[in-house]
Subunit: 124 residues, 2 copies
């Protein structure tokens, strides 16, 4: 039995994978792996995911060149989430942003302050 067998994949055969820049600590994206994507990630040392929208394996950076070199993979206490620490070759986000988390929710203390105001949904 391998450690991978201890991981819990959901009813769709997926496990969420947090991708973090190992150098800056920045959280880059959240994506999903199936067993095959995880196997390919471990074997190739670059991130692979399962695209839920396109329903296919997705080698991150295959078209953009912005691959993510895997440094280490951690799994959580429940075995149902992964933390993939990487060295990214470029922006993680398809928008060109370094991280997919580039918009902030308004809070009581800091109402409406956002990284990119133009991308915020309309407020009425």
């Amino acid at each position: 039995m391998s450690v991978e067998d201890a991981l819990i994949f959901d009813e769709d055969g997926l496990i969420p994978a947090i991708v973090q820049d190992v150098h800056t600590g920045e959280v880059l994206m959240l994506a999903y792996m199936n067993r095959e994507a995880l196997r390919l990630t471990i074997e190739t040392g670059e991130t692979w995911f399962w695209s839920r929208g396109r329903r296919q394996l997705w080698h991150k950076g295959a078209t953009s060149g912005h691959i993510q070199r895997v440094i280490e993979i951690w799994y959580d206490c429940d075995g149902d989430a992964l933390l993939v620490r990487v060295t990214p070759a470029g922006p993680a986000c398809h928008t060109g942003e370094r991280t997919c988390f580039f918009r902030r929710l308004p809070s009581r203390d800091k109402p409406g302050r956002e990284a990119l105001p133009s991308t915020i949904p309309s407020h009425r």
Copy 2:
């Protein structure tokens, strides 16, 4: 329309929330929020989640005292994941570990090295 309305909750009404220590950059846990948990998180400034196992709202730290003070909340390009940056009052994990991601998958380069060998599932 509020920004929260732009978020995409899945068919179970949930959105995954990555919790990160704002000071160390350490990823602490992955949990899930429904709209009510997100509302409570924003209102109280402390993390609330939806426990999928217990099927109830869960105020992180309510029993342990290890609450997580919310500094800022980011959402991703698809609007289907949150990044909650916090100041934790104690360990995030119910095991007493600082982060729930305390076990590492073996890799080709570093086979089998783990943070806590005793917690690794049996290998046969």
